[in-house]
């Protein structure tokens, strides 16, 4: 298996981008990456996308995006794993380059959520239609059930949850591509409208439009495109039951733990060596569950990390320096690639006032549904 590196990245601003279509977003991010690498050639394209078919009525994104990028003819396919679609697109690109089939592959993610669709109902299709959605479950509702289970098991409080949002908005305020570039207080979070108890509006990531893209190639060819490549040391994916009711412990995300263990094993490092992480904080409780499942915080201790500053910029292990899904925004299919973009910049010293000094190892964790799928990547600066 060949060593694989990221050599260029591109990303749109995230937000309610009324003036941009699905294809506009993809082209903007992809072209930025191609321009940075100084190339107009690609061997393959993977498009991470959860549900353009439902959001904007458009399927068959592979050829559509290749065509609009001026690359008709190049193999191009959409990759779907709900909100983990982006992370899985990157993993698929990695595998294609690692095994020697292709030398330069674009892994991108895109979602256009603000075009008038019933977003709550569409997102809910990532959970079990027959046993959960039928009875009125929503995504905030399912994560609220996880939050209650976590509260019962570990004493997590609504204030602990609020601190995750406060910390991520503090980071997002420094990110010019974030949807919400402003800070929050715990009082604002705890007085925001209830969505599904105990989760409030400001515990939830927003509905976003956006795209992100990275270029991957064999490490030994990286110098053709950049002086500062980032190596993908580990990639792993795991699954768990789609329905929350089928999990033995609703407060623990098995797929996140399994994908983390496999990625660490492949990379040959442990959680204590990670310098900066992007994890899937679609709801504030999710960040707490994810850092615990990945071993970035001991089980039951994750709830304290945002408040104490352990996971804030300047802390022991900065988590979601981009602002996370909460503040940067969550165009679902783009999120996994946007995490890789943030870490590519962190590990090449390009994060400006969000820079984690001397960061060598970065971890990205991206999940679909209520953690029915999870994909983890470990990156290293070289």
């Amino acid at each position: 298996m060949r060593e694989v590196a990221i050599v260029a990245a591109g990303m749109t601003r995230f937000g309610e981008l009324w003036g941009a279509s699905l294809r506009d977003l993809f082209v903007e991010a992809a072209q930025e990456a191609l321009t940075a690498a100084g190339t107009d050639h690609l061997d393959a394209i993977y498009v991470g996308n959860m549900s353009a078919g439902q959001f904007v009525g458009q399927e068959h994104l592979g050829p559509l995006m290749a065509d609009h990028l001026g690359m008709a003819g190049v193999p191009s396919v959409r990759v779907e794993s709900a909100c983990a679609s982006g992370g899985v697109a990157l993993r698929t690109a990695f595998l294609e380059v690692a095994c020697g089939v292709s030398d330069l592959v674009l892994a991108a993610g895109v979602e256009k959520m603000n075009d008038g669709a019933d977003v709550t109902a569409i997102l809910a299709t990532a959970s079990d239609q027959e046993t959960e959605v039928y009875h009125g479950a929503t995504f905030p509702g399912l994560y609220a059930l996880i939050a209650r289970a976590h509260m019962a098991a570990h004493g997590t409080t609504e204030e602990d949850l609020a601190w995750v949002s406060v910390k991520n908005h503090r980071h997002g305020a420094l990110n010019e591509r974030a949807q919400f570039q402003r800070e929050l207080t715990t009082d604002q979070v705890l007085s925001s409208a209830l969505v599904s108890e105990p989760l409030r509006l400001l515990h939830c990531s927003p509905v976003s439009d956006g795209a992100a893209a990275v270029l991957v190639c064999p490490l030994d060819q990286a110098s053709k495109y950049t002086d500062h490549p980032v190596v993908i040391r580990g990639t792993a994916m795991a699954t768990a039951s789609l329905a929350l009711t089928d999990r033995r412990d609703m407060a623990f995300l098995d797929s996140v733990a399994a994908s983390g263990v496999r990625a660490f094993e492949m990379a040959g490092i442990g959680p204590e060596q990670v310098d900066v992480a992007e994890v899937h904080d679609c709801f504030s409780i999710a960040e707490i569950c994810c850092i615990e499942a990945l071993g970035l915080a001991p089980l039951g201790e994750g709830r304290h990390c945002a408040r104490t500053g352990e996971t804030a910029l300047g802390g022991r292990i900065p988590v979601n320096t981009s602002g996370g899904l909460k503040s940067k925004g969550h165009p679902v299919g783009a999120t996994g690639i946007a995490q890789a973009v943030e870490l590519f910049e962190q590990l090449t010293g390009a994060s400006g006032n969000r820079q984690v000094p001397g960061a060598e190892f970065g971890l990205a964790q991206n999940m679909g549904g209520t953690g029915a799928s999870s994909v983890v990547h470990i990156f290293q600066a070289v």
């Binding site: 019933d118 709550t120 109902a121 809910a124 239609q129 027959e130 046993t131 959960e132 959605v133 039928y134 009875h135 009125g136 479950a137 929503t138 905030p140 509702g141 609220a144 059930l145 209650r148 289970a149 019962a152 409208a193 209830l194 969505v195 599904s196 108890e197 105990p198 989760l199 039951s241 329905a243 929350l244 009711t245 089928d246 609703m250």
Partner: protein
Amino acid sequence: MPSPRYWREIPSRYRLEATRCGDCGHVSYPPRRICPECRSTAAETIELSHEGRVLTYTVVHVPPDDFLMEAPYALAVVETPEGARMMVQVADCDPASVETGMLVALEFRLIRREGKGGILCYGYKAVPAYPMGGEEEAELRSKELEVAHA
């Protein structure tokens, strides 16, 4: 939900049919062909008890469009004595009164009016297990009927 799909789900939705693994005893609801615990294909069909216990719950304030008339509603994970778990709404009580460990009965109810056609879809909801009786119960039931026919 197109009607063939709805029709296929009737045994589990209307009769609470589940499968019990012939090898490890794990109960799956709705029925499964392969046991998720031990991969055995030896399963017998059983009917679940119409009662259970709330494992965890939430109150949904922002619902999907089909449930706009219902919100806020309590949604809970309920475990039956057989060990099957199901997600159900908790009805006939103030959503704020639902709590972990609460005993519930499972009753056959209208679940949703689907889409623009308003097709009626049925299944089970949990209700507090203690008998409410008297005027209060009668009032709640008539209220639910009113909503159903609105």
